[in-house]
Symmetry: C2
Subunit: 345 residues, 2 copies
DNA sequence: ATGAAAGCGCTAACAT
DNA sequence: ATGTTAGCGCTTTCAT
C-alpha cells in the first residue's frame, strides 16, 4: 500500500480483489485522505486527539461509504467483544419473562449485546461453554444453578462473572434477592387475618437457597405463633403444585398455604377450586412466590412475594459496567423482596 | 521467536509479557513442537492433511493447556462468527416462550450461538443494528415486525436473513405458519357443535398477516353457514380481550367466540365467568389462537389453533445451515397449523 | 504433509 | 496532532 494509493479516492489494491466486502476503516481512511490510525481516532467513541477538520472529513467519508466498524476486529485488539452471555438452564427457568426483557434492554443501553446460552443439562455444561463464544465474552451472567462459583471462574477465565443463581463465594460477584422482608410481610399479613395453621409447599430442598427460604418462613411463622401443619415438596412447577395440593388431607385443617413459587400456587388454586370437600378457596389464604405477571390475571389473583425487577437489573448492570469498582465495593449485592397483596392473601 | 524457544515446554517470549492470557494456538503449537499452521490444521473441524502422529501431539498439547479457540479471531479469518441474532420487539412479543427455548437449543445443536436483539422502538432500529455485533452475524432471524424484507437486507449485508414476521418478498428467506388448516378445523369443530352465530375478536388490522387470517375465518365460517354477528378489535393482549368481551351485548345472542390470540381468549374467558347475565361459559364455545402452553392450565382450558414448534424451528434451521441450498429450493417455508381441542371448544 | 508468511479489520504504542 | 508499525489469534495460500 503506497502513499499515493491512500490518497486516491478510488478502488485500492486491497478492495479490488475482494468482491463487494463491507467497507473497512481502510476504505474510510483512503476516501478521507487520512491515515488509518487517524480514521480510527476520529471514529473512536472516547475522545482521541484529532484535528476537528480532519474528524469531519472522516465522519463524512464513513457516512458516505455506509461504514460500520467490525466489532470482531475491534475485539481482537481491545479484548472487549461487547457480548455478555446469559447462562440459563432452560428459558423457562428464568421464572419471569419481564426480568429477561428488562435485562436485555439495559444491557443494550450500556452498549452490550446479550447472548443466551441454554445449558439444558449438567453434563454438557463445561464442554459446551469451552467451545462457544461464551468463553470469550465480556461478562457472563449465571442464572443456571448447574454452575457453581468455582466452576464459573474456571470456565470463564475472567473475573467478569456474575452469579445470579444464589451460588456464590467470597471471591465472586453476585446479585441476589433478599427473601426475608417479603416473607416476613406475607406472614404478617396472614397473622393479621387470624391464620393459625399453615401448609408449606416448597421446592427441591437440595438447593441452599430453598433451604434458607424455608427457614425464613418457619422463623416468621413461629414469631406469629402460626403452626406449620404440613410441609410438602414440589419442583416449582404448576404440575407439582397440583400434585401437592391433592395430598393435603381435607380433614386436616389448615387456613393458609405458602408456596415457594407462583406456578405451584397456581396449581394449588386450581385444585382448591375443584374441591368442595372442606378446603374452600374463600376461606383459605394462598401465598405464592416470584410475583409472576401471571398473578395479575383474573383467574390467578395470587398474593405473592417478589422484588423490583428494574432494581435488580440495575444492580447487575452496576457490577458490569465498572468491574474495577465492583472489585473494591461490596461483591454481593442484594435487592429486597416485598409482599404483593392480591385476592388470595 | 527462535526454534529452540518453540521446543521448550516453558514460557515463551510471547506468553511472558502478557500476564496470564488464555492459551493461544501459538502456545499449543510450541508445546507440541509443531508449526502454527500444523496446529491449526490438526484442530480444524474439517479434515485437513496432518500426520496422525502429529495430530495426536497437538490434541494432547491443547488438552494439557486447556486451549480453546477464540471464535473472534477465527471469525476475522473465516467471516463466520457462529453468532445468530434474533431480532424481536420485546421479549414478550415472542408469543410463545417454548418456541424461543426450542429455537435457541437447536441453534446450539448446529453450532450457533443465539444473540437476542431487543428493538424496543422503530426509530432506533437502523442505527442500533449498524453499531452492534448483529451487523456482523452469520444470520439474523427477524421476529420483529418493525423490519421489512428490504430493510433487513440493507441492514445485514448478508443474505442470511430469515424473515419470521410475515413480511417477506420474493428475494427473502422466510418461514411462516399456514393459518388456514387450523382455522378450518376450528370452525369445523364449531359447526359440528351446532354453532350458528359467532363473534370475532381480532388484532390490529393494519397487519397484512392479520387481515389474511380474518379472511380465513370468514371464509371458513361462511362455508359452514355460521353467521358473524360481531367483530371486535383488540391488540392481542389479555387486557384487550377483557375489554372486547365487555363490549359484547348480552342480549345479542352469539354461541361462539373466535379470538386471534390466546391471551385475548383468556381475557374473554375471565369476563364470561364473571357474568351471569346471559353469556354462560358452559353454553359458549371459545377458540383462541397460538396454542400457548398457558392453555394447558386448568383455569384456561381454551381450545386453540397452533403449529408444531419443533417443526417450525426445524424449518428455520434448515434455511440456516445450508443457505446455498436454501437459495435454490423454496425460499418461503410454511408450517401447517392445526386445531387443539380443549374444554372450551 | 508441512512451515513461512500473508492477511482478516482494527487499536495502541511509538515516533515525530 | 498525525502517521508508521506492530500486534490481537486465527485461517489460508503458497512453496517445498
Amino acid at each position: 500500500m503506497t502513499l499515493s494509493d491512500q490518497h486516491s479516492g478510488h478502488q485500492t489494491t486491497r478492495t479490488r480483489h475482494k468482491k463487494s466486502r463491507l467497507p473497512t476503516l481502510q476504505d474510510v481512511a483512503e476516501r478521507a485522505g487520512v491515515s488509518l490510525s487517524a480514521a480510527s481516532r476520529a471514529l473512536s467513541r472516547d475522545q482521541k486527539p484529532v484535528a476537528a477538520e480532519k474528524r469531519e472529513r472522516v465522519l463524512a467519508a464513513a457516512r458516505a461509504l455506509g461504514y460500520s466498524a467490525n466489532p470482531l476486529a475491534q475485539g481482537l485488539s481491545t479484548r472487549q467483544t461487547g457480548l455478555v452471555s446469559i447462562i440459563v438452564n432452560h428459558i423457562g427457568d428464568l421464572s419471569d419473562l419481564d426480568l429477561f426483557d428488562i435485562l436485555i434492554g439495559r444491557l443494550q443501553d450500556v452498549g452490550k449485546q446479550a447472548s443466551i446460552v441454554r445449558l439444558g443439562s449438567v453434563k454438557s455444561a463445561r464442554d459446551f461453554l469451552r467451545g462457544s463464544i461464551s468463553y470469550h465474552v465480556d461478562a457472563a451472567l449465571i442464572f443456571s444453578d448447574f454452575i457453581g462459583p468455582r466452576q464459573a471462574r474456571d470456565f470463564f477465565r475472567t473475573n467478569h462473572v456474575i452469579m445470579l443463581n444464589g451460588r456464590q463465594d467470597s471471591q465472586s460477584l453476585s446479585v441476589q434477592p433478599d427473601d426475608a422482608p417479603g416473607i416476613q410481610q406475607a406472614v404478617e399479613n396472614a397473622a393479621r387475618h387470624q391464620v393459625e395453621t399453615a401448609t408449606l409447599i416448597t421446592g427441591r430442598e437440595s438447593s441452599e437457597l430453598e433451604k434458607q427460604r424455608i427457614a425464613f418462613y418457619r422463623t416468621a411463622l413461629a414469631r406469629y405463633g402460626i403452626l406449620v401443619s404440613t410441609q410438602l415438596h414440589g419442583d416449582y412447577s404448576y404440575a407439582s403444585g397440583v400434585t401437592a395440593a391433592r395430598q393435603i388431607d381435607p380433614r386436616h385443617y389448615t387456613d393458609a398455604i405458602f408456596c415457594t413459587s407462583d406456578a405451584m400456587a397456581m396449581g394449588v388454586l386450581d385444585v382448591l377450586r375443584d374441591r368442595e370437600d372442606g378446603i374452600i378457596p374463600g376461606r383459605m389464604r394462598l401465598y405464592g412466590f416470584d410475583n409472576l405477571s401471571l398473578t395479575d390475571l383474573h383467574s390467578y389473583p395470587i398474593s405473592s412475594i417478589g422484588f423490583d425487577k428494574r432494581d435488580y437489573v440495575e444492580q447487575v448492570v452496576s457490577l458490569l459496567v465498572d468491574p474495577a469498582q465492583a472489585r473494591k465495593g461490596p461483591r454481593h449485592l442484594g435487592v429486597p423482596t416485598r409482599f404483593y397483596g392480591r385476592q388470595t392473601g
